[in-house]
């Protein structure tokens, strides 16, 4: 049983809160990713779980034990650091064996476990080398190996892939995912990369300014973001936002902006009704806009002038000018659009998001 429970966790740095009232349950064997921009408190939270950072108030439980006052070594955790933190004066073998030696595991057992971990990670032939003789990806594996030989209750990852180049990062991401399903251990993973968060996490915790914004499964966060921040943070390219004025039209609510005017879908209508006559923020993801084919309802269409064409291969991104606001649209790679073209787009009504302009919460 190795769930991790954070209760009203707070951390202040000289009166400035770095982590504010974080409540989170990480279930046994779950892979939870903490994600957010730099300075959002995700690493501080992880370090409090590790015992490297003192806790201003609140509780951290690992299993059923409150570990607030336990030193890192007694928490039965293993951590992988961003810069790998390999001991430069020790061989790969000794790096991996260090934790076991410190715990007085006998030599035969150490040898067995190191070999086992080295086989899993494919670093068996480097065991005698020093860290500086290894490439970035190999060092990363050693750092992982050092964590897994310990058979800890909880793995903590602090941006482990951010020092790798893009290609290797994708490869290691897949391996991490495999590794987790193989080891079947609770893991807490910190990253600022939303792709890593979405792909790795069983559940994702989005943080900002020391506070948890939303917790949920990746697609749940993507499809139903709790607020404008989460909506804008997850997804690449990011969701388009436009200020619209809600008004009562002949056939229900309308959302008007200088560049377009659309009918609010009936299922959102009751929630948006209190905002009639006021401005709200409308959000639509780039892939939820399509080039109109003439037969589309005019109440869901908007016109845009193409400003930039980004050909990514699998898709093309169009930067549009829509009545003074910029929007990004993802279209099929077969679309031949030029700068200056005027195109009509239709949006998917059930993929529209509306946010309260003051609280930024989803409506």
């Amino acid at each position: 049983m190795a769930r991790v429970l954070l209760r009203n966790l707070n951390r202040m740095y000289d009166e400035v809160p770095a982590v504010k009232d974080v409540n989170l349950e990480i279930r046994d064997k779950e892979f939870v990713v903490l994600v957010g921009p730099s300075g959002c408190g995700k690493t501080t939270t992880l370090r409090m779980v590790a015992g490297l950072e003192s806790i201003t108030s609140g509780e951290v439980l690992i299993g059923d034990t409150v570990v607030n006052d336990l030193p890192p070594m007694d928490r039965d955790i293993a951590m992988v650091f961003q810069n790998y933190a390999l001991y430069p004066h020790m061989s790969v073998y000794d790096n991996m064996a260090f934790g076991l030696k410190m715990r007085g595991v006998d030599r035969a057992e150490i040898g067995k476990r190191v070999q086992e971990a080295a086989d899993i990670l494919g670093i068996g032939e480097y065991l005698k080398r020093k860290p500086r003789q290894l490439s970035g990806g190999q060092r990363q594996r050693v750092a992982l190996g050092r964590a897994i030989v310990r058979h800890p209750q909880v793995f903590l990852f602090d941006e482990p892939l951010s020092n790798l180049d893009a290609k290797l990062r994708v490869q290691m991401r897949v391996e991490l995912k495999k590794l987790h399903s193989r080891l079947n251990t609770t893991a807490v993973y910190v990253t600022h990369d939303q792709v890593e968060a979405m792909t790795l996490g069983d559940r994702v915790v989005v943080m900002r300014g020391g506070e948890v914004q939303q917790v949920g499964e990746p697609l749940e966060l993507y499809n139903a973001p709790a607020n404008r921040f989460v909506a804008g943070f997850l997804g690449s390219p990011a969701m388009n936002f436009a200020a619209v004025r809600v008004s009562n039209g002949a056939s229900g609510l309308r959302a008007d902006s200088p560049g377009f005017s659309i009918d609010v879908p009936s299922e959102i209508d009751p929630r948006l009704r209190p905002y009639a006559g006021r401005e709200v923020t409308m959000g639509i993801r780039p892939e939820d806009l399509h080039i109109a084919n003439g037969g589309d309802p005019p109440g869901l269409c908007l016109d845009g002038i193409v400003e930039v064409v980004e050909r990514l291969g699998a898709e093309i991104l169009l930067d549009l000018q829509v009545g003074g606001q910029t929007m990004v649209v993802s279209v099929e790679p077969t679309v031949r659009a030029q700068r200056g073209d005027k195109l009509r787009f239709v949006l998917r009504p059930n993929r529209l998001h509306f946010f309260d302009p003051a609280s930024e919460a989803a409506i």
Binding site: A50, G51, L52, P71, P72, M73, R75, I77, A78, M79, F81, Q82, N83, Y84, A85, L86, Y87, P88, H89, F98, G99, M102, R103, P131, R132, R146, R150
Partner: protein
């Protein structure tokens, strides 16, 4: 590196560098030539027709033999060695612990304590020897090696502390954090992880401390009086300059022999030493 035509490399690199090396090494060359020059050449007036100041046609070891047989030079070497080694060990030990604490531990007034230690290093020895002499007398340590073994750390400890503090700060904190998660106590993490990585820094602090105490002059001059207790620096200058008579040959032979241990240590550890001063720690 200088790029372009070959003459540019000569004009901007080899010739200035060569001149600099000659400038630096000339005193040592002078020391060497003087120590093997027979007396009749040494005291030949400069307008004599066969005056040759930069070399000698009749090298002799008589000064070295005289130095070793007629003075207490060997004894001075042993004294200096003992004092330098013991005070270096004391200073390194204190400097390691203090430097680590100042670099890594958070405690009240840690920063001002560090500055305080540094300030003690700035107080000139030429002033400090007066109160220290009083203390040495009160403890009845005068004219014993302990007078120097215990006073040299007053400037060596701040020196080692600061050098090592800088070195420890350059070691990524994560290494230690990782060790502590791996199951090491702070003490063990320090012993197994931080100190081994800091070896270049520790060695250069040690070499510096050794050199400083080997070359120290004023405390040795003030605190030691009998000939058999003296260090090389003081012994050579006080026993081989009698009144206005300079025993140049023996003086220079003493200076030459006295600089060999330091030169030896430097050449032995030069790689560590450079690494220690440039502080290159790779994680």
């Amino acid at each position: 590196m200088i790029e372009g035509a070959k003459w540019r490399r000569w004009v901007y690199f080899y010739i200035p560098l060569g001149a600099f090396i000659v400038w630096l090494l000339f005193p040592f060359y002078w020391m060497l030539v003087t120590s093997v020059r027979p007396d009749r050449e040494l005291y030949r007036p400069w307008m004599a027709p066969n005056y040759a100041p930069f070399w000698t046609a009749h090298p002799t070891l008589v000064h070295v033999v005289d130095l070793l047989t007629e003075t207490l030079f060997a004894r001075w070497m042993l004294n200096t060695l003992f004092i330098a080694i013991v005070s270096t060990i004391i200073s390194l030990f204190c400097g390691l612990l203090a430097g680590y604490a100042l670099a890594r531990l958070k405690f009240p007034f840690g920063g001002s304590l560090g500055t305080g230690i540094f300030i003690t290093y700035l107080v000139p020895q030429t002033l400090l020897f007066i109160p220290l002499a009083d203390i040495i007398r009160n403890f009845q340590l005068g004219d014993t090696p302990w007078a120097l073994v215990l006073t040299y750390p007053t400037f060596l400890i701040p020196f080692c502390t600061w050098l090592l503090m800088g070195y420890f700060k350059a070691i990524p904190r994560e290494l230690e954090e990782c060790a502590r998660i791996d199951g090491a106590t702070r003490w063990k993490a320090m012993l197994y992880i931080i100190f081994p990585i800091a070896v270049p820094g520790i060695l250069s602090a040690g070499i510096f401390a050794f050199t400083l105490s080997w070359n120290e002059f004023i405390y040795a001059l003030v605190f030691l009086s009998s000939a058999e207790q003296k260090t090389v620096a003081v012994g050579v200058t006080s026993e081989l300059v009698r009144g206005d008579v300079f025993y140049w040959g023996q003086l220079m032979a003493g200076a030459l022999l006295g600089s060999i241990p330091v030169a030896f240590i430097y050449s032995f550890f030069v790689e560590y030493y450079v690494a220690g001063l440039t502080g290159s720690v790779k994680g």
